[in-house]
């Protein structure tokens, strides 16, 4: 049962990672990347590593996600009104 969950989680991680790179729209890629980070947090929980889970959620996903979204916003604004 737990093995099935782990396998499902691992496959979702891979799928999410793949879509992050392959999806044509950039904003969607960033949202997928943040989802990927949340799945990573789950994976760390499964690996009994709550410290990493906390850090991944706060730094790896939260801060990186905010940085990426901010950069995306700026780049898009520049393109709209050069």
């Amino acid at each position: 049962m737990t093995l099935a969950f782990d396998l499902l989680l691992a496959l979702s991680l891979l799928w999410c990672g793949w879509r992050t790179l392959a999806t044509p729209r950039l904003d969607r890629a960033i949202v997928l990347f943040i989802t990927f980070g949340l799945l990573m947090t789950l994976a760390w929980a499964r690996l009994s590593a709550p410290d990493i889970g906390l850090a991944e959620a706060a730094i790896g996903t939260g801060l990186t996600g905010a940085l990426l979204l901010d950069a995306y916003g700026v780049l898009r604004r520049r393109r709209v009104e050069p």
């Binding site: 782990d6 990672g17 690996l47 590593a49």
Partner: protein
């Protein structure tokens, strides 16, 4: 098949996906995403493989904490460079090396 193994294998695949992404993708923001996938993959291998008998090992866990902080530092620097490049040239891809 243990939890550790499952995620170590997933980590190996993510690393390969990330490297392929950095090599193949021209768009710089996506390259940064790919680099992050690569880093996450290496971290999963580090913890997963060490915990392949499903007993928690604090040493690789502490190393991964270090790895995550280094990754966010590198990501922030990369984004700063990309934004500067875009502000200067309007480009989001690296041009061919002009002097060759």
């Amino acid at each position: 098949m243990t939890t550790g193994f499952v995620f170590a294998l997933a980590g190996a695949a993510l690393f390969a996906l990330g490297v392929a992404g950095v090599v193949l993708i021209g768009h710089l923001l996506r390259r940064i995403l790919a680099f992050n996938l690569m880093g996450s993959g290496a971290c999963l291998v580090l913890v997963g493989l060490a915990q392949r008998h499903d007993v928690a090992d604090p040493v690789p866990q502490a190393m991964v904490l270090t790895g995550i902080v280094v990754a966010v530092a590198a990501t922030a620097l990369a984004l700063a460079l990309v934004r500067k490049l875009h502000a200067l040239t309007g480009q989001l891809e690296l041009p061919d090396d002009a002097d060759d």
